[in-house]
């Protein structure tokens, strides 16, 4: 009996499982019926509707790319514009015999192997009904020939689009940057929905850094096309979301003057509004024609640009690294005061050379016969090397490193476009980590006059100059002043101008003394750049620098006439003005330009003259 009742109980429980299985079966059947009802609805009830859509007409959705935002200078000069340009596109789904079509096409327009390669690459990433560009920037004749022979060329379209054009390419290519065809790596990272219908993307400079503002968001058109794919009518159009026009801090007239002043020499000029960090000038010469990149640069031209001795593609303002030479002397003098190692009045004896105790190596002053007794101010405006050899020895390399780091050297300035280099301020730690060697005391002397392993970018030099002009306040340089809606003109983003991040500590009185000595550089009787200060109707402060490219062997004489050009000294000059209430700080570097006072300082003077002249003119109407 017990076994029987147990069996009955077991059976009941198994029945429960079976009931659940039948329930599952019913559920499956119900779900399947629902699904089939939908298939029935689509295939029988709405069959005609869908047949019409699929057979006679096909609805296509065509993306409408927004016109790219334009870029203006602060004085409203157009730096990047959109121009109507015509490109040749193939629609893969309408091309039956591609090789034959390409052969046919090449009878009318020149098509390079590179064009074809890029076309094949792009084609993989488009839907088959979307046009794929084969050749951009057709000239009028090519457009005419293709339009006339269109019946011979199924699947070929001439598409008008707005292409990028840079009116001031040669003078501002590095900063504004350029757009180019989207490549495979970029495509991977893109938001595909936003880039449908867009072939170009910012590759460098502002064009790259502010891609999201410049690009906008595409709209689309719903169109009906016939069996051949030609558009019969537009059903619906959602306009693209307009992009933003960008207004830069760069002053075009000042920029052009800077490029002109560099006069085809290799060099860089950076000018900042020291109060805000707004970049007024960012000139890097030689320049290049950024328009070449827009349609996909020819590989031969590109190789030529890369090989060119002047390295035109290098943005020297951010990527050029130079020994700062004597331009860092004011900062080091401040460091000495700050550390309590010097008083402003304390003098150092300059006999024309300096030696470390127990070493026969002589570190020479640029003035062979020596300066005699000098205090800090004198050492700056006469640019005495011995004063700074001794100061460097007393500071020691690591304090020297910290002092220069306080002024922003050895680290990116944080400017709002990419590609910036950090430069290098040597230290014991750096030498140990990078070279695995200890620091030798003899190496400290050369760092004290901005030589040795010390490397700075022109942008860093200008921001460090701004720190002095601001009496300690650091600013982060920036290029974007304002973004405005390209349709309404409404301001969307405005640069947050204002005080910077950090204050370098020093007695306020020390700033006055150092600034005064820098003023003496240009306005004093014995200043190294007194020629450039003469006759100015405003007061400015400056510091010359002459950076050695090669080391001169002990006892050897540097003779400009005997040294090949690429080994001649770099000419440097930093300045800010007006001394009473500084509003512009700048750094000028002319590669292999010889002395800073002779080559770089006059350029700075020219720029400052123009700056104040323009300001006066604006004020008076």
């Amino acid at each position: 009996m017990t076994t029987l009742s147990a069996k009955i109980r077991t059976d009941r429980r198994i029945d429960l499982v079976h009931r659940r299985i039948y329930l599952t079966a019913t559920l499956c059947l119900l779900v399947m019926l629902t699904l089939m009802a939908q298939v029935l609805h689509l295939q029988v009830v709405r069959h005609e509707h869908f047949t019409a859509l699929s057979m006679d007409n096909q609805i296509k959705i065509v993306p409408v790319a927004p016109p790219r935002g334009r870029i203006f200078s602060s004085d409203k000069v157009l730096l990047a514009d959109n121009r109507l340009s015509f490109s040749l596109e193939l629609v893969p789904e309408r091309v039956t015999d591609e090789p034959a079509l390409l052969a046919q096409l090449s009878r009318f327009v020149a098509i390079s192997a590179q064009d074809i390669e890029r076309f094949r690459e792009l084609r993989k990433r488009r839907r088959r009904f979307e046009g794929v560009p084969l050749k951009s920037h057709l000239d009028d004749e090519e457009v005419a020939v293709i339009s006339a022979n269109r019946h011979l060329l199924p699947g070929v379209d001439v598409v008008a689009s707005s292409g990028r054009y840079y009116p001031l390419a040669q003078s501002l290519a590095h900063t504004v940057g350029y757009v180019g065809m989207i490549d495979a790596a970029e495509f991977e990272k893109l938001n595909k929905a936003i880039y449908r219908g867009t072939n170009h993307i910012g590759k460098a400079g502002i064009e790259k850094a502010y891609e999201n503002l410049l690009h906008g968001s595409p709209g689309y058109e719903q169109v009906e096309v016939n069996a051949q794919g030609r558009v019969i009518r537009n059903i619906y159009r959602k306009p693209p979301e307009p992009s933003k026009d960008l207004y830069l801090t760069v002053d075009a007239s000042l920029q052009l003057l800077a490029v002109q002043a560099l006069n085809d020499r290799r060099g860089a000029i950076v000018a900042l509004d020291n109060r805000s960090g707004a970049v007024l000038v960012a000139a890097s010469t030689p320049g290049f024609d950024s328009n070449l990149f827009v349609g996909g640069i020819d590989s031969k031209v590109y190789a030529q640009l890369l090989r060119s001795k002047g390295t035109p593609l290098l943005n020297r303002t951010l990527q050029g690294t130079y020994p700062p030479g004597s331009t860092i002397k004011p900062m080091l003098a401040l460091g000495g005061l700050q550390q309590g190692l010097r008083t402003p009045e304390a003098t150092t004896w300059c006999p024309g050379w300096f030696s470390l105790k127990g070493s026969s190596r002589r570190y020479r002053c640029w003035k062979r016969e020596g300066h005699g007794h000098l205090d800090a101010a004198n050492a700056i405006f006469q640019s005495c090397d011995v004063y700074f050899y001794v100061l460097a020895r007393d500071l020691g390399i690591d304090t020297l490193h910290d002092t220069l780091t306080d002024f922003g050297f050895g680290q990116p300035t944080g400017i709002d476009i990419g590609g910036e280099r950090a430069g290098l301020i040597p230290s014991t730690r750096w030498k140990r980590e990078a070279l695995g060697q200890p620091w030798y005391p003899g190496e400290t002397m050369s760092v004290g006059i901005g030589q040795g392993a010390t490397l700075v970018t022109p942008m860093q030099l200008a921001t460090a100059t701004a720190v002095i002009a601001n009496r300690g306040l650091q600013v982060r340089p920036y290029l974007l002043s304002e973004a405005r809606d390209s349709v309404t003109g409404q301001s969307v983003i405005r640069a947050a101008a204002g005080p910077g991040r950090e204050v370098v500590f020093a007695e306020p009185e020390y700033w006055d003394r150092i600034i005064h000595s820098m003023q003496e550089v240009v306005h004093g009787e014995r200043g190294t750049a007194r020629a450039s200060g003469a006759g100015a109707n405003y007061r400015f402060a400056g510091k010359t620098g002459t950076a050695q490219v090669i080391s001169i062997a002990q006892g050897e004489e540097y003779d400009e006439d005997k040294v090949p050009e690429e080994l001649q000294d770099h000419a440097l000059f930093i300045a800010f003005a007006p001394v009473e209430a500084p509003e512009i700080a700048l750094a000028v570097i002319v590669e292999n330009g010889g002395g800073g006072s002779r080559t770089a300082a006059p350029i700075a003077r020219e720029l400052l003259d123009h700056y104040f002249h323009k300001k006066r003119r604006e004020r008076h109407g």
Partner: protein, 363 residues
């Protein structure tokens, strides 16, 4: 001694095998058309098929008791691999799902589709149904861990399938309606939380599903074009190799997730009825095998496997016809793809094992 039929000696269930082979044939025909008449695709499909059928036969020969004995180890092993994927997985299509073993890449989440129903069936068949609350809770934990791991990859489709295969077993085992209702309510109330945890692209898919016009260039495009393909097929279809939607390449993912649309366009409602009929036949046969099984383990596991197979079909059809959001789940035995083929055939192997070993066990 009872006479043992040939199919039982070889551990093959003839009706099930017949249904599977018929579907595979339809798969070949559709794939040939969808893939632009590429023979290359057919050759790869053949390789997948031979491997998958081999796996099925091998599993069919394994006594269910052995499957039950190995299930915990299999489950834990699969779980370990899922954790490994989390740390060392290769990324493909934006999700970390793959584990590389030399030249072979595979998705451990596929193993879990079988391991989970196996381990829960084992656990719940230890005593007579219905399971106690503690057992239910523990079984839910067994389900939750791998589902969350897979959802994190993120692979919502597979996570859904795994969850269903485990839950189906729990349901069949007689989990009380009260508990079921309770968990249903809990799931509903946690929906907003899940929404917040979802990735942007997943949210977008759900929103697009609710309003395809919102994103006519992206996922909405898929649904619109898929519906045009299905609808224009009509009652009789446009005929094999004559589908314009698919051949003009309006249809996305033609050989994989959206192959059902190609089939509908070319074979029409009549073709769909045949296809769905075959699917229902296989499901019915699988449930019949489960009911017939004399072991509770067989009943639970068999139904779990069938339920997972059904959800595969239903989710894919629902997605392609525009009734469900787009989740990447292929149509079983028709879509191109090796991994899903292996899992599905392994499931059928389990069903055959349950069916063909029962007499030997009962003797």
């Amino acid at each position: 001694m009872k006479e043992v039929s040939l199919s039982e000696k070889r551990h093959i269930d003839a009706p099930l095998l017949g249904g599977i082979l018929a579907l595979c044939l339809i798969g070949y025909i559709t794939l040939y058309s969808a893939g632009g008449q590429s023979t290359d695709l057919l050759i790869r499909r053949s390789v997948h098929l031979v491997l998958a059928l081999g796996l099925m036969f091998a599993i069919a020969r394994t006594p269910p008791a052995r499957l039950s004995g190995a299930s915990l180890l299999f489950y834990l092993g699969s779980l370990l691999l899922l954790v490994l994927v989390l740390f060392f997985g290769e990324t493909g299509k934006g999700a970390q799902r793959w584990l590389g073993l030399g030249p072979v890449r595979f998705q451990p989440s596929e193993l879990m589709k079988l391991a989970l129903p196996m381990v829960i069936a084992m656990y719940l068949s230890k005593q007579m149904p219905p399971p106690s609350i503690t057992k239910v809770l523990l079984a839910l934990a067994f389900i939750a861990v791998p589902v969350l791991l897979v959802a994190r990859q993120p692979d919502l489709g597979t996570a859904l399938l795994i969850a269903v295969s485990g839950f189906a077993v729990l349901f069949i085992a007689g989990m009380s309606w009260k508990l079921l209702g309770g968990f249903g309510l809990l799931a509903l109330s946690s929906a907003p939380v899940i929404w917040n945890l979802m990735h942007d692209y997943q949210k977008r898919r759900v929103l697009t599903f609710l309003d395809p016009e919102q994103d006519p260039l992206g996922a909405g495009y898929h649904i619109i074009q898929s519906q045009i393909a299905i609808g224009s097929g009509g009652l009789y279809g446009k005929g094999w190799l004559n589908g314009t939607q698919s051949h003009l390449e309006f249809l996305p993912e033609r050989t994989t997730d959206f192959i059902f649309a190609v089939f509908c366009e070319e074979f029409g409602l009549i073709g769909v009825c045949v296809l769905v009929g075959l699917y229902l036949f296989i499901i019915a046969r699988g449930l019949y095998i489960s009911v017939q099984s004399q072991q509770l383990y067989g009943k639970l596991l068999g139904t779990g496997v069938v339920a997972a197979f059904f959800v595969y079909i239903a989710v894919n059809m629902g997605m392609v016809t525009g009734q469900l959001p787009v989740v990447g789940i292929p149509l079983p035995l028709i879509s191109h793809g090796g991994t899903s083929m292996m899992t599905i055939m392994a499931g059928f192997g389990i069903l055959m094992a349950i069916h063909t070993h029962k007499r030997i066990l009962s003797d």
